[in-house]
């Protein structure tokens, strides 16, 4: 396969950045999208140019490090698939692809397709945890967790923190990411004591980091590689409203 790539190149955060065109020749349909970029980069390095910088690590769709826009879609055209798991057989010979980094004020570009997503870590540090210091845990089976709740927690906990939700959102909101953690911890009995404070602290931090507000558009859920649903956002909003009017452990 031969492809035309229009790639965002930006040397550093302060650089203006621009689209540069590359021809990718001899691409095998069995390659992943990142392997295709590896081939392009080998050529660039040998020519004395600098390779296209992109974040990646596990290449199995679980670490959440990779991600960029392909023709305007976060992680490209395949449903529930990160770019590392997206294979070239889903494209046609001769295609033109525009490759850009996530665009959001809270995710400044570091270089080329790499953005700074440390804001996500700060949202977690604000309350995305259960305070259970090492050694203090009771016997694991002391508290039964209904299977349905454990399954809901797992559905939400599947979030890989890639940032596609923010990139796809016209408001650059981090609501889906934040809500996934609020649901994961909020449906488990172990997460109840901190439930009210958690949602407030995480949302306040999210707002303070420059993410936009959620207006329930749903672009986030459409691109989420782990198919986290909009229902998590409803859960967060309900908990947030409760935390504003109720005191104590969710009781009036």
């Amino acid at each position: 396969m031969n492809l035309t790539l229009d790639v965002w190149r930006q040397r550093h955060a302060g650089d203006q950045g621009r689209i540069v065109r590359y021809q990718a020749g001899g691409i095998s349909p069995d390659m992943s999208f990142l392997e295709m970029l590896d081939v392009v980069n080998e050529g660039l390095i040998l020519g004395g140019d600098e390779p296209i910088a992109f974040d990646h690590d596990c290449r199995e769709g679980i670490c959440g490090m990779c991600g960029f826009m392909i023709n305007g879609i976060a992680h490209g055209p395949e449903r529930a698939t990160t770019v590392c798991q997206l294979h070239m057989r889903h494209f046609r010979d001769g295609d033109s692809l525009t490759i850009e980094p996530w665009r959001a004020g809270a995710f400044p570009v570091v270089r080329d397709l790499i953005v700074d997503r440390s804001a996500f870590d700060r949202i977690i540090a604000a309350g995305g945890f259960i305070s259970a210091s090492t050694g203090s845990a009771p016997e694991a089976n002391n508290i039964a967790v209904p299977k349905q709740d454990a399954d809901s927690a797992m559905d939400a906990a599947a979030c890989i923190g890639c940032g596609a939700c923010v990139a796809a959102c016209p408001n650059a909101s981090a609501m889906l990411f934040t809500a996934a953690k609020v649901v994961h911890l909020g449906v488990l009995p172990q997460g109840q004591p901190e439930r009210k404070g958690r949602v407030k602290a995480m949302v306040e931090t999210m707002d303070g980091l420059g993410f936009g507000h959620c207006t329930n558009i749903g672009e986030c859920a459409a691109v989420c590689p782990k198919e986290i649903g909009m229902d998590t956002i409803a859960f967060l909003n309900r908990d947030l409203a409760r935390s504003a009017v109720l005191t104590g452990n969710g009781r009036a």
Partner: protein
């Protein structure tokens, strides 16, 4: 044998394992370890390199105790560490199933599974702690699988006869890591832990014979920085990427432990690597990594190749009589469930005979047709749906209709820096945890034991043993004016400059690929003296060419993936030589590796306890081809060595 005579041998190593009844050793040792007064803990600073299960759990626990921790990772966030990719589960001797499990049985299985090349006392402690790990993770909100009554579910894994593996769908590693990461983020919020993402450790600082800090490169600005502390912990994972293709993440590397090795930390059993049988085969030269499919697939899939060499018919056109279900044929009692190393070797053997399937003939079938006929496609989908989807996404083949193709791939490294019972290396103040140490798995790791070990080290061992060290040395000045700091920084700067200045014709990736091929061909799951000697001739030549003909574009003062890669490959080129030397000296088959000269008349692995019942700790001498061997003899007081048999 002759190879032994060429090895320079130094004094024996002492693992400092406590004595007495094995079930009391850790308790008694814990009591004997010194404590640090709570009010004094904030005066200590610990350098933690790596943020996976072993690193994040230790950073969180030490922060909770009141120490100051500086934690470093090369990724953009500590949540990316490769522990996240573990699928299957985590073992614990809870005996929730009433099926006869116990701490002693987990201990026994692990010592035996490691083919009698691990320390009994360490393994017993690991089995004891396994129980607490599950409690801790549940309290953190790890969403383990549950039964309808709300209690924890378990499954049997990797051929174990008891059901002791706890899991969170196919994402157990992810959920355990997020638990540790969240606990660490809590400490970051409280100010006890400081996180340095996109920082790569490039050198260890040793002053007055103690590990006192590290030199890092800020991967965004290129700045070379020294970070000082009272102790250094390396939790930097395994070195499986020395084979280029492995199931490790692309960034996984040996640099941290290799640099520490060059500064005095002995490297133990580097040739003990684990090859996992059920990975998706290579499709071409562009292949950048291999993807593991959970070995639970072997519970229902049947492994076969055509009987005829070079049979290129599609699988559905090969009649039953012309198929060789080689695992069932060779190992009638275990069949498709033989351990990882046995299954891997048999698959490679079939392919070496020219009976492999798929591109390049490097693959064997894993066929679910019979299971689908017996149980229905629905039941198979329920068990393996996500794995089947993943397979189809990567290969564009539907495993419900055609058999999967699988091939072995490097998955885990049992070898690593040598540590004593307290997880301290041969450099005082340098601790090593998780996959980075040579650990508790002997010559072969059992399924679902890596997560257990990483978290045992981080949550429940290091907080005690590190405190003992800190209490003994007292708080140290950390102003960076120590002897050795300037030199270490200068060395790093010079090495970076050297890589950039070569300006040759080959990329770091091209050297890495060639190195990986040498290692896979000659130091993989089956090795022999001639092949290892060939590798030992070839690796120094390749390393020489690397330093003459490498091409790195760009500069140091920017984010530069080509430069990062080059530095890592440079260290792999050195580690590879030590790995082959270790493999050559160990003239026995044990655990995950098969030494062709050491086999039974039936062609099975033959361990040699008379000559090799020891841990091989290698000391760096300044000359890569002449490391000195220090043996730690292994004694088995509880589990008596026996030959494994799966016939």
């Amino acid at each position: 044998m002759s190879t032994l005579l060429e090895t320079r041998t130094g004094s024996d190593l002492d693992g400092k394992t406590p004595t007495g009844p094995i079930e009391e050793r850790w308790d008694r040792h814990r009591f004997e370890l010194k404590l640090v007064n709570p009010a004094n803990r904030r005066r200590y600073r610990v350098i933690m390199v790596g943020s996976g299960l072993a690193g994040a759990s230790a950073a969180a626990s030490l922060g909770e105790l009141g120490y100051h921790v500086d934690c470093f990772c090369y990724q953009d966030s500590p949540r990316r560490a490769h522990s996240i990719a573990a699928q299957g589960g985590i073992n614990a001797a809870k005996n929730y199933r009433n099926d006869g499990d116990s701490i002693y049985r987990l201990f026994y299985d692990t010592v035996k599974g490691g083919d009698f090349r691990a320390r009994e006392a360490n393994v017993y402690r690991l089995a004891q702690i396994s129980v607490e790990i599950i409690d801790q993770c549940v309290a953190q909100g790890v969403p383990f699988a549950r039964e309808y009554g709300g209690l924890l579910d378990t499954r049997s894994f990797g051929g174990a006869q008891v059901s002791r593996t706890f899991y969170a769908r196919g994402q157990t590693g992810q959920q355990l890591l997020l638990g540790a990461y969240q606990a660490m983020e809590r400490q970051i919020g409280l100010g006890t832990v400081a996180m340095y993402p996109r920082h790569e450790m490039l050198e260890l600082i040793v002053a007055d014979g103690r590990a006192r800090g590290i030199v890092t490169r800020d991967m965004v600005t290129g700045e070379i920085e020294a970070h000082m502390g009272d102790a250094v912990v390396l939790a930097t994972g395994g070195y499986g990427n020395v084979f280029y293709l492995s199931t490790n993440a692309k960034g996984c590397n040996t640099t941290a432990i290799w640099r520490a090795h060059r500064k005095g930390a002995f490297f133990a059993n580097p040739c003990f690597t684990q090859i996992h049988p059920t990975c998706i085969p290579v499709t071409g030269d562009h292949q950048s990594k291999l993807t593991l499919m959970s070995e639970s697939l072997r519970n229902d899939g049947r492994v076969w190749v055509p009987k005829k060499m070079g049979d290129s018919r599609p699988p559905e056109q090969i009649p039953e009589a012309e198929r060789d279900y080689f695992l069932e044929r060779k190992y009638p009692s275990f069949g498709n469930l033989v351990p990882r190393d046995v299954a891997s070797r048999a698959a490679k053997e079939a392919c070496d005979q020219g009976r492999g399937v798929g591109p390049g003939g490097r693959g064997v079938y894993l066929d679910f047709a019979e299971a689908i006929a017996r149980l229905g496609a629905g039941a198979i989908k329920e068990r393996y749906g996500n794995l089947f989807d993943m397979y189809e996404r990567i290969t564009a083949e539907n495993p419900y209709e055609a058999p999967m193709r699988i091939y072995p791939a490097v998955h885990y490294t049992m070898g690593g820096l040598w540590v004593d019972y307290d997880l301290m290396s041969t450099v005082p103040g340098l601790f090593v945890t998780g996959e980075a140490n040579f650990s508790d798995h002997g010559a072969n790791r059992l399924g679902a034991s890596a997560l257990m070990q990483g978290l045992a080290d981080g949550y429940f061992i290091l907080p005690y043993t590190l405190a003992d060290y800190l209490a003994q040395v007292g708080p140290q000045p950390t102003d960076g004016n120590l002897a050795g700091v300037t030199e270490a920084m200068a060395e790093v700067g010079a090495r970076v400059e050297r890589l950039l200045a070569i300006d040759g014709d080959r990329t770091a990736d091209s050297f890495h690929r060639e190195l990986g091929q040498i290692m896979w061909d000659h130091c993989g799951m089956a090795r022999n003296e001639a092949g290892l000697r060939k590798a030992l001739d070839r690796i120094p030549e390749l390393r020489d060419e690397f330093w003459r003909n490498l091409k790195v574009s760009g500069t140091n003062e920017e984010l530069n993936p080509a430069l990062e890669k080059a530095g890592r490959v440079a260290d792999f080129l050195e580690l590879a030589e030590l790995t082959c030397i270790d493999a050559l000296h160990r003239g026995e088959s044990s655990g995950g590796h098969f030494r062709e000269e050491s086999q039974t008349p039936e062609g099975e692995a033959r361990r040699d306890d008379e000559h090799f019942s020891y841990v091989a700790g290698w000391e760096f001498t300044g000359v890569l081809s002449e490391p000195v061997l220090h043996k730690e003899p292994l004694a088995f007081e509880y589990v008596h060595p026996s030959q494994r048999s799966y016939k």
